[in-house]
């Protein structure tokens, strides 16, 4: 089917023209051999993708169209087709919109934070000697390798209201208001705390990627720029940045996808979404609304909406990048 589709999508030829018909047929038979080889090469990966991606996605979309809870799954109640009912219910729920805004804002802060910290440290690492660089990398890899649950719990210990090191140090330094300060009580300090943890465990990826990119830029280019009289800022902006752009795009997309799907940190650090659900993000919301309450239909609808949103955001970002890339 793939081969057929690709050949069919060529330029349209008026029917009845024997010569083009003939030509087309010949091209098709030649293309067929190539297409068959391509299909054969792609088959293992394709089968795997269908098994682990397409089928679950198909089930997800299908579930989202039904009233499907535990009772339906185990045969205690008949299936009921809702069509877009789950979606209508979701979009009509004001909590969903609040959670969506939370998620977008929180992900944006985390992406910006990890990019800034990661790039800054990558630049730093490319400029310092061997020993400090090794220490920096060890620290970063340590943060990167820490499991999310362990990292979140350690951060919670550090920021504990009564016994936390941070409050003790701050109040020891003379900031009396910080003794017994609750970091998870206020909505924004709670988000800030979790964002800190997320940045802490996700900047190493950006740092390592960007460091590799910086190291791959030949010294002659920088030298040429400085011979032409470019300032350090100018070199960074007009020479280095364009060369790093592909890596930057990858790092950004990875971070967007990763931070948009945050679950563990929020779930652990704000105890399942914070006071009165003030720190809920989409993934935790989906878990609570749907899976803990075994309302799988609605949960699937949230999953579909999330997938769509992520594709949309990434698409817009790629498109914007390509547009600016062409201008410069």
């Amino acid at each position: 089917m793939t081969a057929e589709l690709t050949t069919e999508s060529g330029p349209r030829t008026p029917p009845g023209n024997p010569e083009t018909r003939h030509g087309r047929r010949r091209r098709r038979s030649g293309g067929n051999g190539q297409a068959r080889a391509a299909v054969l090469y792609l088959a293992p990966a394709g089968l795997l993708l269908i098994a682990v991606m397409a089928y679950p996605l198909y089930q997800l979309v299908q579930l989202s169209l039904y009233e499907y809870g535990q009772a339906q799954a185990s045969g205690g109640a008949p299936l009921e087709f809702l069509g877009v009912g789950n979606y209508a219910k979701l979009l009509g729920d004001s909590r969903f919109w609040m959670v969506l805004i939370n998620t977008c804002g929180f992900a944006a802060v985390c992406v910006l934070g990890s990019l800034t910290v990661g790039i800054a440290l990558a630049v730093l690492a490319s400029r310092v000697r061997w020993l400090p660089r090794t220490l920096l990398f060890l620290a970063a890899l340590g943060a990167w390798a820490t499991p999310a649950v362990a990292g979140s719990t350690v951060w919670l210990f550090l920021f504990d209201q009564n016994f936390g090191l941070v409050n003790e140090v701050l109040s020891g330094l003379g900031w009396q208001g910080m003794a017994g300060f609750s970091w998870t009580y206020d909505r924004f300090t709670a988000f800030g705390l979790v964002a800190g943890e997320v940045v802490w465990c996700s900047f190493p990826f950006v740092m390592v990627t960007m460091y590799a990119g910086i190291k791959a830029i030949p010294g002659e280019i920088v030298e040429a720029a400085s011979l032409d009289g470019a300032s350090a800022w100018r070199t960074a902006r007009s020479v280095l940045l364009p060369m790093l752009r592909p890596l930057l795009i990858i790092a950004t997309i990875q971070s967007i996808i990763w931070d948009f799907k945050i679950f563990t940190q929020i779930y652990v650090m704000t105890d399942g979404g914070g006071i009165a659900g003030q720190n809920l993000v989409l993934n935790v919301y989906a878990y609570q609304e749907a899976f803990a309450g075994s309302n799988y239909g609605l949960g699937s609808a949230i999953g579909v909406v999330m997938t769509g949103l992520l594709l949309l955001i990434t698409g817009i970002y790629l498109w914007a990048q390509r547009a600016t890339g062409e201008n410069t």
Binding site: E4, L5, E8, S9, Y58, Q59, V61, Q62, L63, L65, Y66, E67, Y68, G69, Q70, A71, Q72, A73, S74, G75, G76, A77, L79, F81, Q161, S182, T184, Y185, D271, G272, G273, I275, A276, G277, Q288, E289, A292, G293, S294, N295
Partner: protein, 428 residues
């Protein structure tokens, strides 16, 4: 090209609409074998040894009375029970014959079509007449009984005898007195909570609602409606959330407390009072407050009355897919019978569900008396509908309490909670 697009769209649409999501055919196996292996699932415990000893004794007795029957007991973790039971309902071949489960989970298991009706078994079992009525109610859905109450648990008021003595206080005898006492303690002992009341401790809030004449939900014409926004319920909620106050239990510390954390605060000496269950006694005994506490029933509105407590507890039931249902029923009558309930109390200090057994253990152990008194004063239960698990999972009531504790007015907060509860009820 257009043809392919249309075909693909048509196929996709047919697939999506035509064949629905997977469903298990949940019909009785019909078989009722009197020999073979009887599979039993019980909950694992933090300290399982004493429980296992009692269960093993019951198994031995049962195997001695039934030839060619082996009982295979497996202990499953409470935290993952939902996945285990879901798995058992979805794949009857891996399901047990007998299972222990929490009474709040019953309605959703029954709706899933997983449990078999034991109404007849209870009626024909002479000992069942001694079962406490309010506890037996927790095993019922739509007038049918699906489990035998194995043990129950109720909460009462723990208080620090040393603090009360030093400040010259008496244990409160009404909810009004409770608030006053808590306020008084915090003003004299600013490093202590007057009472550890948690924003996420729903089972502590429920008695306040019931004691004020309110309800969580009411059943009208066969469908449930939330009642948390009624005048009476609001009064109870206002009293409870009033405890989450800087002068009693500061909201920035208490709004996120769960039941376990409230008890930990009390056991660690951070609180002068707490609402805790008979099952929390060991934790408190081992804590800093271990030697200096006592328990009284949680008082109601009127002086000297007892607030209706939530009747938690676990049931033993037979799975519908079981092909040993008669044996399974026989085994439940042994394990949940008077003899082994008594031994379970001795081993795990879980409260028996037979009233005569309750009286006997209370006579032997004065420490358990306030709980028995609470139990026999009449207990209440959450609405027996599968929607309750959803309401519970979505944390609707904790969210409401936390909103009020952080400054929202009681009326809009309860109205919003009622709306969300009703939408959960409507879905079912």
């Amino acid at each position: 090209m257009r043809f392919w697009k249309l075909t693909t769209a048509a196929i996709a649409a047919t697939l999506l609409v035509g064949c629905g999501p997977p469903q298990v055919d949940q019909s009785d196996s019909g078989a009722d074998s009197r020999t073979g292996t009887l599979r039993v699932w019980l909950f694992d415990e933090a300290n399982r040894d004493p429980k296992e000893k009692v269960v093993n004794a019951a198994v031995e007795e049962f195997e001695g009375n039934h030839r060619d029957v082996t009982v295979e007991v497996r202990y499953i973790a409470v935290d993952t029970r939902s996945e285990r039971f879901t798995g058992a309902f979805n794949d009857p071949s891996s399901a047990p014959d007998v299972a222990e489960f929490g009474n709040t989970d019953l309605a959703s298991y029954v709706a899933a079509g997983g449990m078999s009706d034991l109404t007849g078994v209870i009626e024909d079992w002479p000992a069942a007449t001694d079962l406490s009525d309010s506890v037996l109610d927790t095993a019922e859905v739509d007038g049918k009984t699906y489990g035998v109450p194995w043990f129950t648990g109720v909460r009462a008021l723990y208080y620090r005898t040393d603090v009360f003595d030093e400040l010259g206080l008496e244990p409160p005898r009404s909810l009004g007195e409770l608030v006053e006492t808590a306020r008084r303690i915090r003003s004299e002992r600013p490093d202590m909570y007057g009472i550890a009341a948690g924003g996420k401790y729903t089972y502590a809030m429920m008695p306040f609602i019931w004691a004020s004449g309110g309800e969580l939900a009411e059943r009208r014409n066969g469908s449930w409606r939330s009642a948390v926004d009624s005048e009476a319920s609001r009064r109870g909620i206002r009293t409870y959330t009033g405890l989450l106050d800087p002068a009693i239990c500061p909201p920035d510390q208490c709004a996120q407390l769960t039941g376990t954390e409230s008890i930990q605060a009390f056991a660690g000496g951070k609180a002068a009072m707490a609402i805790g269950g008979d099952f929390n006694r060991t934790a408190v005994d081992e804590g800093a407050a271990g030697d200096n506490y006592d328990v009284v029933p949680l008082p109601g509105r009127k002086t000297g009355s007892i607030a209706p407590a939530f009747a938690g507890g676990n049931l033993l039931g037979v799975l519908r897919s079981s092909d040993h249902s008669t044996l399974a029923q026989e085994f439940i009558k042994v394990l949940a019978g008077k003899k082994y309930q008594r031994r379970m109390y001795e081993a795990m200090s879980y409260l028996p569900t037979f009233e005569d057994v309750q009286d006997r253990v209370a006579a032997d152990d004065p420490a358990i008396e306030p709980f028995i008194e609470t139990l026999q004063a009449g207990t209440r239960f959450v609405p027996s509908t599968p929607a309750w698990s959803e309401i519970d999972a979505q944390e609707i009531l904790p969210t409401m309490a936390q909103r009020i504790a952080t400054g929202e007015k009681v009326r809009p907060a309860t109205q919003r909670a009622a709306q969300r509860m009703n939408s959960a009820f409507d879905d079912r």
